[in-house]
């Protein structure tokens, strides 16, 4: 089996690649080739001793003329389409957001259609497709009224994916990822950054800033769960999915206070004490427009699995990113 990953050098792309390389199979079929595409080269040294017989690092700009055709020409059986610019960048640079997130996806779908091999395409969408106001739990049949250009682009790509699937050009499935927590790496300027920051920084011995009230409720999944969603999605059949192939993913729904309590339980109250409250009106307003709880009934019925508690999410971060060690 030949797998192509777009956006492979991103955080989720790297973790997905690591897991595929480790397992050397996808739903029981051996992986004999991996094509890792991104605008920056995938750090290939990690793959040397992987056992995957052929691993190609491809570098290019997906919406550029001919680039998507090059990807279709490698004849992948399964495509994980993760490439895209993030929400902050898509909001700041209108043209770039539409070019990468919409035109890039459409170019890929068109190239696949013209190649005529109807591969499986797993598309990473986002809960940014939803826009407030919301019911207490967002049902699977709730409409998409995004309040960002990023969310608009993801919602449009979901519609394209479903039409290309219906036409039998691809076997498509789109998954709406909740906020990924704990994101590894440096703090960034994303409005959602604090959800990870208030866990990651204290665990690393640093102070974190909490810009919203403890009562803010949101839905989270670990990077490990996100990779699990992608892999599970790749195994679903047309019959299982039916016509509605874009699915909201489950997650752990909790308040910031519950996040902090979980941190204290897992790592101690002195670690949880490293959070400083510094309300930020702008971030409070942005976060106020975000979904709190996603019902995700269809995804749960189809076997997608998120963590059972925020404690688990904290432990996964300690395990995967900190070698099991919490900073004193």
């Amino acid at each position: 089996m030949h797998i192509l990953i777009t956006g492979a050098a991103g955080m989720i792309g790297r973790k997905l690649t690591e897991r595929l390389v480790k397992e050397r199979a996808l739903h029981g079929r051996p992986i004999d080739r991996l094509s890792l595409h991104d605008v920056v080269p995938f750090p290939a040294e990690a793959l040397k001793a992987s056992g995957v017989s052929k691993c190609d690092v491809l570098v290019g700009d997906l919406p550029a003329a001919g680039e998507a055709d090059k990807l279709a020409a490698v004849r992948p059986d399964v495509i994980f389409h993760l490439a895209g610019v993030v929400s902050g960048e898509a909001e700041l640079d209108f043209d770039k957001g539409y070019r990468v997130n919409l035109d890039g996806t459409r170019a890929l779908l068109e190239a696949i259609r013209k190649a005529g091999r109807h591969p499986k395409v797993v598309f990473s969408s986002s809960i940014a497709v939803y826009g407030a106001p919301f019911p207490p739990a967002i049902p699977d049949d709730f409409h998409l009224t995004p309040l960002t250009s990023y969310g608009t682009q993801k919602a449009i790509c979901e519609l394209l994916l479903a039409d290309y699937h219906r036409r039998n050009f691809i076997d498509g499935v789109g998954i709406r990822l909740p906020t990924i927590c704990v994101r590894p790496g440096k703090p960034n300027k994303a409005a959602s950054g604090f959800f990870s920051g208030i866990i990651r920084e204290p665990l690393a011995g640093q102070e974190a800033v909490l810009p919203v009230a403890d009562t803010v409720r949101h839905t989270h999944a670990s990077p490990r769960a996100a990779v699990g969603f992608l892999i599970h999605a790749a195994g679903l059949t047309r019959e299982q999915l039916g016509a509605r192939i874009n699915l909201a993913m489950p997650g752990v729904c909790c308040t910031v206070a519950e996040q902090i309590a979980a941190l204290a339980r897992v790592a101690g109250s002195e670690v949880a004490a490293r959070i400083r409250r510094e309300p930020d009106e702008l971030i409070m307003r942005i976060v106020g427009g975000w979904p709190e709880r996603i019902a995700a009934r269809r995804a749960l019925a189809l076997g997608f699995k998120a963590e059972g508690s925020f404690d688990e999410i904290v432990k996964i971060h300690i395990d995967e990113e900190l070698n099991g060690q919490v900073a004193a």
Copy 2:
């Protein structure tokens, strides 16, 4: 005020133009210029004695390079964007449907954005954005899962419209038209054609074929109501619309049996007897995936008005298309 209509030579475009020419004003502001764009020339003789001081007939292919820029360059204050290929054609010709319905709309929005004058843009969407299965009445927050490429293209354009509106590039509003009934003219091959045919043909003294059961339920609005929706939409403010600018329109929800009963009441049972039942499996299957009842609460609250009964719809057809005369 300068008004641009795209798709002006189509059935709704012509009726909208006639009404604007007759009223010579839109929401109290005099119309001093009309630009009528289509791929075929608008029949201009009808406009000669209109009283609109300047009426330009523009002919061109909206998605072609430079065409949308030409339209933005005429500096319209209000744009009624009706241009598009219909659902049957978009399903048969995948490339043409995306080119005209998606690329054409996006080119228009981009040209408007670059011109920097944020006009009002009224977009004619369709209930084809919905896909079965449905609840008994489709609520305003029901998701869009189209089952045709046409419906997909309309849903994508709604998302673009909302994002360009949110960014303040336009003042946008999208209206999802129900099935327009009674469509004037010749019978066509559209699966929905019989909804009009079973009224239009008997009134003209001809036999009509009914390919589905009497119990089929659907939602209808007259061409006159559709023009009224477009004009009413043009008068709504940003504040009235809020962030969710794409609205399902109201209509008369009734069964085929109720349509036929209305025809008999208005024109006599000998006219209604001109309907021959000839079940067609394919049409029954297609129509089975269509919405039955649209709740349209928001549209009703915002003052959109459909007919009160199917009798009215029949009478409007007799009045507008048959000079008040039913064929004996």
